[in-house]
Each structure stands twice: as structure tokens, then as C-alpha cells.
């Protein structure tokens, strides 16, 4: 790949407007649609059963309805032979016995007994704990990054990196809410992995900007930034492509359980790559980053030592 000379920083307003619209749309979607929180966070019961032949969902639904599980949602999972039954936390029914009762109910009416593939029951307290831990994880990773980048670079870079990363997370979650996919623990892990990845990308660009600041003298801050983004461009795209390759493999072959995970990361890597090229540096520039911020500080009292 030849060295490009695209004026990313000069045309920053286009990207910033585009990203603002994207973020706004995501926030609206998150506010209106919300995220389809999985039982990991809401509490409830999830039962996956398998049949030899394609399962008749209508029969299963009416059976469960008759058995008193009116709020059960029944759907195929991956293939027509696999069925996923979701139940909310029940009022008045002991939650621990629920899965047993459901399995008895559906086996009662169908000719072929269902083979139980998976049961997940999460109590309300555990759901609350997992939600809290999830939020804390997001919070602490953000703080950790802020501190590390501020220490290695400077606070304006740090803030720029966090803004770019938040942009990626919000837009990815926005897409997730539009797709109405289920948000469970694995998806949360993917969101955190995305934060790590998106930062990694941004840091590489920042690192180059710092180097330019220290070595190139007769250029404006904007020119130096633009050069740095261009120089790292092929690397940014290459790495994103290798990650996207493994994610595509995971998406198509990894099975239904890992679907949400690969979807989040696929979108996340895409937006993360975009933001580290178009957003991270302009934001740092707008925050007023200049080469002076990264100059090694002149030690106070140094000249005094040289006095006779």
C-alpha cells in the first residue's frame, strides 16, 4: 500500500457531523427500543430443548399456555429442531422448580420427548448483582484507561481516546438495539473486549502523533496529525481486517450461543477502526492538543546547578 495523503483532519467536520448523527440515532434507538436484556440481568429461566425432527412451535406454545406458563416465549434457536423457551420470574411459583415443571409439561403433549440441551435459571438477586458488576466493569475500565493514557500521553489525548471509545460503544449498542438481539453476559464481555480493541487502535495513532510532535518541527499541529493518521492508515486497516476475518469465522461457525458476541465485535471493530481514523485525532485537536503539551518538561532549578 502506498503512502496516502488524505486530508482526514482538514475534513474533520464531515466525520464529526456524521458521527454525531450516528450517536444521536443510537441514543434514540436505545431510549425507544432499549436493549433486550437477557435473563443474566433480568433474572428468569431459559430452557433449550432439542428434537429429532423440526419442532412444532404452535403446539409447544399452546401446551405451555395450558400448563399455566402464559408468559413463556417460544422460538427456534439456530435450527428448526432446537427450541428456546424463555420464562420471566414467576409470581407465586417457586423459581427453582420451574424448569422441571416446564419440561414435564412439554413432554406430556408431544409424541417425541424433548432432549434437554440447556437450562439457565438466574434469580432476581443474582441478576441485579450481575448488572451491577457489569456497570462497574465498564466504569473501572474507563477509569483505568483514562489514567493510563493520561500518564503515558496527556489528559487531552486521554479524553479524546475515551470519547472515541464511547462513540464506538454507543453506536454498537445502538445497532444492537435496532437488531433487537439479546444482551447477555457474553455480549457484555464482547463490549468490554471492544473497548480494549478500539483503544488499541486509537493509541497506535496517538503514539504516532506524539512521535511527529517530537520530531517534526516546521509543520502545524494539524499537518502533523494528518500525516500521522495517513502513515498508520495501512496498519489500522490491516489489523481490522485480520480481526474481522476471525470474527466472520466465529459468526458463521461458532454457533448460536456466541452469535451476539461476534455481532457486537464485528460492528465494534468496524466503528472502532472508523473512529480511530476519523474521530480520535480531531477530538484531541479540538481539545487543544499542541506539541508543547508533550515536550519534556524543563527541570526547574537546572540552570542554577550550573552556576559557579
Amino acid at each position: 500500500m502506498k503512502l496516502t495523503t488524505i486530508n482526514f483532519i482538514g475534513n474533520r467536520n464531515i466525520a464529526l457531523i456524521f458521527s454525531s448523527i450516528l450517536s444521536l440515532a443510537s441514543i434514540v434507538s436505545l431510549a425507544v427500543n432499549g436493549l433486550q436484556m437477557g435473563i443474566d440481568f433480568t433474572g428468569g429461566t431459559l430452557i433449550e430443548v432439542g428434537y429429532q425432527k423440526a419442532a412444532d412451535l404452535t403446539v409447544l406454545r399452546s401446551t405451555l399456555d395450558e400448563a399455566g406458563f402464559a408468559d413463556a416465549t417460544v422460538q427456534n434457536f439456530g435450527t428448526a429442531k432446537d427450541v428456546l423457551i424463555r420464562l420471566k420470574l414467576q409470581e407465586g411459583i417457586s423459581s427453582a422448580d420451574l424448569s422441571t415443571n416446564v419440561l414435564e409439561a412439554i413432554n406430556h403433549n408431544t409424541a417425541e420427548p424433548a432432549s434437554l440441551r440447556r437450562v439457565e435459571f438466574v434469580g432476581p438477586q443474582v441478576g441485579d448483582d450481575l448488572t451491577q458488576d457489569g456497570f462497574l466493569a465498564l466504569l473501572y475500565s474507563t477509569i483505568g484507561i483514562l489514567i493510563y493514557v493520561a500518564w503515558r500521553f496527556e489528559w487531552k489525548f486521554s479524553l479524546g481516546a475515551v470519547i472515541a471509545t464511547f462513540h464506538d460503544v454507543i453506536v454498537t449498542l445502538g445497532v444492537f438495539s435496532i437488531l433487537r438481539m439479546e444482551f447477555d453476559l457474553t455480549v457484555l464481555a464482547a463490549v468490554l473486549a471492544l473497548i480494549g480493541y478500539s483503544l488499541n487502535d486509537t493509541i497506535v495513532v496517538y503514539d504516532r502523533i506524539r512521535e511527529s510532535f517530537l520530531t517534526l518541527r516546521n509543520k502545524t499541529t494539524e499537518e502533523m496529525m494528518n500525516l500521522s493518521v495517513n502513515v498508520t492508515l495501512s496498519r489500522t486497516i490491516m489489523t481490522s481486517l485480520t480481526v474481522i476475518l476471525v470474527l466472520v469465522s466465529l459468526f458463521f461457525l461458532g454457533g448460536e450461543v456466541i452469535h451476539g458476541f461476534s455481532v457486537v465485535l464485528l460492528f465494534g471493530v468496524f466503528f472502532g477502526t472508523y473512529s480511530s481514523i476519523f474521530i480520535a485525532s480531531p477530538v484531541a485537536l479540538m481539545l487543544g492538543v499542541s506539541p508543547a503539551d508533550l515536550m519534556p518538561p524543563v527541570k526547574e532549578g537546572e540552570h542554577l546547578d550550573n552556576l559557579p
Binding site: Y140, L199, R235, L245
Partner: protein, 615 residues
Amino acid sequence: MQNHFPLWKNSLVLIVFMISLLYALPNLYGEDPSVQVSSSKPEKISPAKASEIEAAIQSAGITNKAFEFKDGRILTRLSNTDDQLKIADLLRDTLGSDYTVALNLAPTTPAWLQAVGAQAMYLGLDLRGGVHFLLEVDMDAAVKQAEERYNDDLRLAFRNEKLRYQSVAKDNGFIKIKLKEAADKALLLALLTKDFRTLEVTEPPAQDEVWLKLSIREEKEIKKFAVAQNMTTLRNRVNELGVAEPVIQQQGENRIMVQLPGVQDTTRAKEILGTTATLEYRLVDVEHDLQKAVEGHPPVGSRLYMDKNGQPILLNRQIIVTGDQIVDASSGMDQDGRAAVFISLNGVGAAKMGKLTQANIGKPMAVVFIEYKIDTRIVNGEKVRHKEKVEKVISVATIQGAFSKRFQTTGLDSPQEARNLSLLLRAGALAAPVDIVEERTVGPSLGQDNINKGFLSFVVGFVLVVLFMAVYYKLFGLIANMALAFNVVIVVAILSLLQATLTLPGIAGIILTVGMSVDANVLIFERVKEEIRNGNSPQTSIFMGYEKAFATILDSHVTNLVVAIVLFAFGTGSVKGFAVTLIIGILSSMFTAITGTRMVINWVYGDRRVEKLSI
């Protein structure tokens, strides 16, 4: 510019590679379906018994691959799961309750690898199938029970000291003592400081009263004890269930995690783990009027119970023997073919039982079955923990003659119920009731499915990245691919060494590592290309490329690492598995992608004149 590694650096890379290869190797070997037999008593299996069991297996006409007898435990390897189940059933029938028979998957790692401590990765439940429970210990109940115990102890102490009291009552977290005469207060306080130091004393304005409260330290002790005691009991019960490699761990302050690999019958597992079933023996009150008691006026020394058919029955308040005095219990059939539990009592229980039956021959005695059932229900949006103590009289029989240490109890609904009860009595009671707050069950077919899918997407992802790198970076790409393979070997080796749990998200983490760990090489190679563009010689470009890319790699990997560590700290279960693989992958990729590739590149290009790099 020389590109040359000193000998120690080359040796280091090669040694790390060899060691990683060695410890990753066990994962290539499969597992044998096997049956494990151990003694459920403190004594271990004797060699004589072992050969007896071996003969029994051979006479069943099933060929076992190997029969191992080590540390008083027997492991017999079989060629398929059908044989495994047959042998397990056979052994369960012939050996009885003195032995625990468990299904297991025994690794086929050769002895020389086992000798250096090399083991295959530890697969999580989502890959091997099994049940995961999170149990919450009811701490309030534990504290309440302790208060009740203190209540009884105080009364007993007062009686022994001839201290006259009006009442000892629990009230709002306090134990309130009201004396007959205020003058005895000094005596009471002296007694409290002598024998009840764990209680905090409050003196209310009323001179004849003293209020006591559990000290915070004592309350903490009680809670700690309740969890510890419950874990012991759960461990006993799980052993009785016959599960190979169970995991029982405390999680947080009041939760216990139980993982039972391979267990499919979750209903039974739930019954066994969650119930606080015990027995009580009481005399039937035949002196008082049953009808009056039903109308709401039970006599002072008696209590009204319901029997199995819902008929009321009046029993003495005083308990003859409780469940914790039972030292052994087994199930079977009595002479008439009814399900029965055979019980042995400890010394104290036996003495009491002997004395009472002696004195009451011809009178009826009742067996009360007690079970705590807890559910969490949602009432008006509030989570309410509902605890129910179910007491039912399972049998009433006339005392035919005196008995003490050994006897039997009938009246249970089914042999299954008798088996469960005997198991629970043997394993001991839970110190405080537990509530299942999380359950995750994975069927064996889904587990194998997950392994296959994970492995397939790993292979395809790996091949895609390898092709991509080879096409784009040519010889340098091939070298990066070697480092990538090396990196996967290291990750697998470290996971095997740590015996960290590999979960499906963990596999996803390895796959993601494959995609991300070439990043360091991409950074270096792009930098090398840039140096060439700037007009540097090939040797200088290699040198400068590695040099300049290093700081960037460090910065970008550390940020990634920070996030992975946070994920590890807050993640639970399968997510933690993901974080572990990510952390290991990030760290080892720095070694393989920087030092590993540099070594090979130095071999190829170092110490000679190079016109052009294949990059």
C-alpha cells in the same frame, strides 16, 4: 547494522517453545469413558476388595481397557459410554451404599507426560456438560437459630444457678430477660460475664430487666460458621451423589457455588442439595383430648401435627431424638417389603432412645419428617423470600420392645424417597437453609457441539488469517504466521498448566487473540516498509522497524490488558474464562510477535548483504 541475536536469546525462544509444546501436548489425547469407585467410609478400598471388583467387571462380559487401583480408589476405563453405564449400574447394585460409584472421563495422557505434570485443559461445564448451581445461605435464619440456642442455654444456666426469672424472650434482635426480683441482677450480670461473653449486655431503665444482643463479632462468626458448615454438608451430599470432580466453592460472603460435571438429573441434584430434611422421634400424646386441640386449645406439653393422610395427631413437645444424633442411615426394604430407612444413633441418642422406649412399651411413637422449602417469589414487584417448614408425621408405630442404637423407620412413600432421606441423614444437616439463586445446566450433546463449533471456527479463522498475512507480507507474513502458531501453543500450554477453566467464550477469546495478535507484526512490518520508503537499507529498516514499533506495541497492548484485567475482576463464570484467554493471549503475543519473529528474521536476513526484503 547487524541483525543478530545473541545465543541466550535464541535459546530462550527455543526453550520456551519446547516447554510450551510439551505442556500443550496432552490436549491432543482424548478421554476414556470410565467408572470410578471409592469408599464412602473413612477406610479406603482394600486390595482384596479391588480384585473382587475387577473380577465382577470381567464376569459381566464387558472388556475394560484398563483397571487402575491407586490410593484406595478404583478407576476402570471402558471403550464406550454404553459399557460405562452398564458397569456403573452393575457396581452400584453389587456394592451398596458403602461405596461411591461415579462416572468419569479419564484422560488418556501417556504416563511420561503425566509424570512432568502435563494435563489437558480443564473444560468448563458449557463444554463438557453438567450442572452449575449458585446457592445462597439464609443468613437471617442462621442468626435466628443461634438466638434460639442462646435462649435455651440461658434458661438452662439460670435453672442451674437457681436464678429466678420471669421470662426470657426474643424481641427485635434482643433477648430480653425479666427477673422475678431486681435484687438478683448482680448475680445475673456475674453469670453473663462468666459464661456468655459473646452477648452484649444492655441495661434498660427497668431494674429487673437485662437485654442481650449478639455481638457483631459473634454474628460474623455465626455467619462464617453457617457457610463453612453448609459447604461441608454439601460436599458430603455431592459425594453421596457419585459425581466425579465436583467443584464446591464459596463465592462472596453468603453464596456457595456447586458444579457437578456430567450430572444430568438436575431434579434429583436440586432435591439433594437444597433440602434441609431431617427426622425427629416423638411420643404420641394419648392422655389429652385430640378434639380440643383441633379446636385450638392444645395442651401445654403437646403440639398438633398432621399425618400423611391429613389427619390431626397430638405429639409430645419433647423430642426423643433429632436428626443430628443419627450417625448412619441406609435404605432398603423391611420384612413386609415396604421402603425403610435403617438408622444408627450416636451414644447420647442411643441412651435417650433406650431409656424412653423402655419406659413406654406399648405406647405409640411417631416419626416426624421435617423439610425446609424456600422459594423466592415476587409479590407486588418486591422479591420476597418465602421459607416454609414442612413437618409431617410419616409413621406412627407402637413400641413393641426397648431398642436403642439401631432401628428402622418405615412409612416413606417410595424406595426413592427412602434413598434420598438416608442420604440426607448420612450427609448431615445444613446449618442454615439454602436457596438456589442460579442454575445453569448444559446437556452433554450441547457440550460436545460447543467444542466442535468452537474448534471449527478456530481452525477456519486461523487459516484465513494465515493466508491473508502470507499473501500481503510474503516471507515476513510466513514468519508472522509461525509466531502466530507459536502464540496459540503458548496460550494452550499456559491454560493447561494453570488448569484455568476453558469455556466457550474462552475459545472465542483464543480465536479473537489469533486475529489481534498479528497486530504487533503488522505494526512492525508497516514500520519496516516505511523505513525502506525513507531510503534506508534493508538491514537498517529491519532494525529501525522493530525499534520504533516497540513503544507503540507496548502502549496499545497495555491498554488492552487493562480492560481484560477489569473483565477478569468483574466477570463471572464463562466470561472470566474469556478474560483469562484474552490476558494470556495479549501477553504471549508480545513475546512471540516481537522476539519470536525477530529471531527467524535474523536467521534469514541477518549477518549478510541483503538487496531487497520479501515484505
